[in-house]
């Protein structure tokens, strides 16, 4: 007889994932059994948010366990349970909740079908990200990558009546599959080079041996980097980003920009800082180059964008560059700063996309020129957009500044002076395109007056623009509050990240 010694299942460690998947399945089941007349979307949303909340609850439990007992692994070393995983998971969960809030009216307004499944897919993807955050084995990394990506392919293409959405889906899918094949090949090569896929195993192996033939390992490392760099949208693996961000439904884009980036960086950080820590000298060189071109590419590419979402996409590329500065440092400060950055960026970008949602518009096309004179026409929306853009530009006293300060500090500490200079300079260039949007809203009134009919129509109807719904308003409030709060009193988040940087 075959004896299968099933490993002890540590339920605490997998509870967040289980909750999310269960909630997703519950939604599917509910949809399947509910009669046609029954409203399914609102309950699905409710289940989804509750599931996420429950997941958050378990995460707090995990946090206290980790803080008290230190990091641990679980399920045959496949799961790493440490502050890092909880931190990233928190970002993911918050992003998912905010994203669902953003979606709530958006889907209805756009007439997007299969709304309960949408919620389920978001939950599944979030589950994948949580798994990613705690993945302690390259196989889990790969599978988690797929679990988080495949729902996103679907979500990107979710607005099936819109060609742009479908296009975003197919592009994301083709390139995603391509890159995950590359990543997988990297896993294979590293497996060949070290004989294991376990991150700890690799670390131990590399720490105890001196490899004479490093070729396979290095090639594997390169391919892993390519695959993950694709996910975090680093140049030159970024080209999907503008198209997909622009085409996808705005809440999905917000989710991709915040949570997916966090998950991608989670994997990157964990692999580099544990498994390949012996090779930090090498990957720091690679990341140096990647960070440099990412900063430049993202910033420069954004300069002449005419669509707001596309602009935010390029800015998200640039932000990946900043985070890469932190990663590149290869120090605790670097890790910590990257975490803070991810956290802060999630709120800044979701806030910005919340504005995109609030702007309305029929076809999800958001030409910047349409924002003309919004400073007067929709002062609150314009003001908030300006706020988020300035935060992304890293202007104090917003959280964006604290985030950038962290990664720059990491670069300074690690003596990556060239990156430091590149970072500060690109943030200046970056300010240009953020300011361009703001100028359009605030300073363009005289040159081309807003057509009178439009103006009078706005005035007559009283509610010239679709009113901003309560959920979106709530999201905006949260994002503004957090962005200012961290900007003024960053201690809490920095301490949180410091505890989280005790990686397994």
């Amino acid at each position: 007889m075959i004896e299968i010694a099933v490993p002890r299942v540590d339920w605490y460690s997998i509870a967040p994932v289980v909750v999310l998947v269960a909630a997703a399945l519950l939604i599917i089941l509910f949809k399947a059994i509910a009669r046609d007349r029954v409203r399914t979307y609102e309950p699905a949303l409710l289940i989804g948010v509750l599931g996420l909340a429950l997941c958050a609850f378990f995460l707090t439990k995990q946090w206290s366990v980790v803080i008290d007992d230190g990091p641990a692994d679980a399920l045959a070393h496949m799961i790493a349970l440490d502050g890092f995983s909880v931190f990233i998971s928190v970002i993911v969960i918050i992003a998912a909740i905010l994203m669902l809030l953003l979606s709530s009216e958006y889907l209805v307004a756009r007439g997007i079908e299969s709304r309960p499944e949408y919620v389920a897919l978001v939950l599944m993807s979030a589950a994948g990200m949580v798994v990613m955050a705690s993945a302690n084995d390259l196989i889990v990394v790969f599978v988690a990558l797929e679990v988080l990506s495949i729902p996103l392919y679907v979500l990107a293409a979710y607005d099936r009546t819109r060609a742009r959405s479908l296009e975003a889906g197919i592009k994301y899918f083709v390139l995603g599959a391509f890159s995950s094949a590359i990543l997988l090949y990297g896993v294979a090569l590293i497996y060949g080079a070290t004989g294991t896929t376990s991150l700890e195993g690799i670390q131990t192996f590399l720490a105890t041996r001196v490899l004479i033939h490093e070729g396979t390992l290095l090639a594997g490392m390169v391919l892993l980097l390519v695959g993950l760099a694709f996910k975090v949208a680093a140049v030159p693996f970024h080209m999907w980003t503008p198209d997909v961000y622009e085409g996808s439904p705005s809440p999905v884009t917000a989710f991709m920009a915040s949570a997916t980036k966090a998950a991608g960086f989670a994997a990157l950080l964990r692999i580099l800082y544990t498994a390949l820590v012996q090779y930090s000298h090498d990957w720091r060189q690679l990341l140096f180059a990647l960070a440099l071109v990412t900063l430049l590419g993202g910033t420069v590419g954004a300069l002449w964008q005419t669509d707001l979402k596309r602009l935010l996409a390029y800015s998200s590329i640039a932000h990946a560059g900043y985070i890469l500065i932190g990663v590149q440092a290869g120090t605790t400060q670097g890790l910590q700063s990257a975490l803070v950055y991810l956290f802060v960026y999630a709120f800044m970008t979701i806030g910005a996309f919340a504005i995109v949602v609030a702007l309305g518009g029929t076809d999800d096309v958001h030409a910047i020129s349409d924002l003309r004179a919004y400073g007067r026409r929709r002062p609150v929306v314009a003001g908030l957009l300006a706020f988020f853009l300035l935060a992304q530009a890293g202007i104090p006293p917003t959280a964006g500044f604290i985030a950038k300060l962290g990664v720059f500090a990491a670069a300074a500490e690690a003596q990556s002076y060239a990156l430091l200079i590149a970072g500060v300079l690109t943030s200046v260039i970056g300010a240009f395109f953020y300011l361009k949007v703001i100028l359009t809203m605030y300073a363009a009134e005289d040159e081309q007056p807003v057509p009178d009919e439009l103006e009078t129509a706005e005035l007559e109807t009283g509610t010239p623009h679709p009113p901003v719904g309560l959920p979106v308003a709530a999201v905006l409030c949260v994002c503004v509050a957090i962005t200012i709060w961290i900007g003024v009193l960053p201690t809490i988040i920095i301490d949180f990240a410091r505890d989280a940087s005790l990686i397994l």
């Binding site: 599978v143 009546t161 296009e167 197919i170 083709v174 094949a181 090949y185 294979a188 497996y191 294991t196």
Partner: protein, 106 residues
């Protein structure tokens, strides 16, 4: 019968590299989305060969186990990918190639 001398894994691995390369290049040059998917499958298969070869060389189960996961992933990917294509084709009978999907650019 010639003695079944065990072939060095280098052969298989080199083969896999070439297969991977063909798949990758195919994805780059073909315009039919379905064929592009097939090229991804070629790449995944190359990876599978790699894993199996390493598994034999290392006498380790991991390599073979991973192939299972790859197979599942491949299946899932194909299902979703094809669904997207179907959705697109529902809308657009003509212009079947990847080059026609270029609303988003710049």
């Amino acid at each position: 019968m010639i003695a079944a001398a065990r072939l060095s894994e280098t052969y298989y691995l080199t083969f896999a590299v070439i297969l991977f390369g063909i798949g990758a290049v195919g994805l780059l040059v073909r315009r039919n989305v379905l064929v592009m998917f097939m090229c991804v499958e070629l790449m995944l298969n190359a990876v599978n060969v790699t894993f199996v070869a390493f598994a034999r060389a290392l006498n380790d189960v991991t390599g073979q186990a991973i192939v299972f996961f790859v197979l599942v992933v491949a299946a899932a990917e194909v299902a979703v990918g094809l669904a997207i294509i179907v959705a697109i084709f529902r809308r657009r009978r003509n212009g079947a190639t990847a080059d026609d999907i270029d609303l988003l650019q710049g």
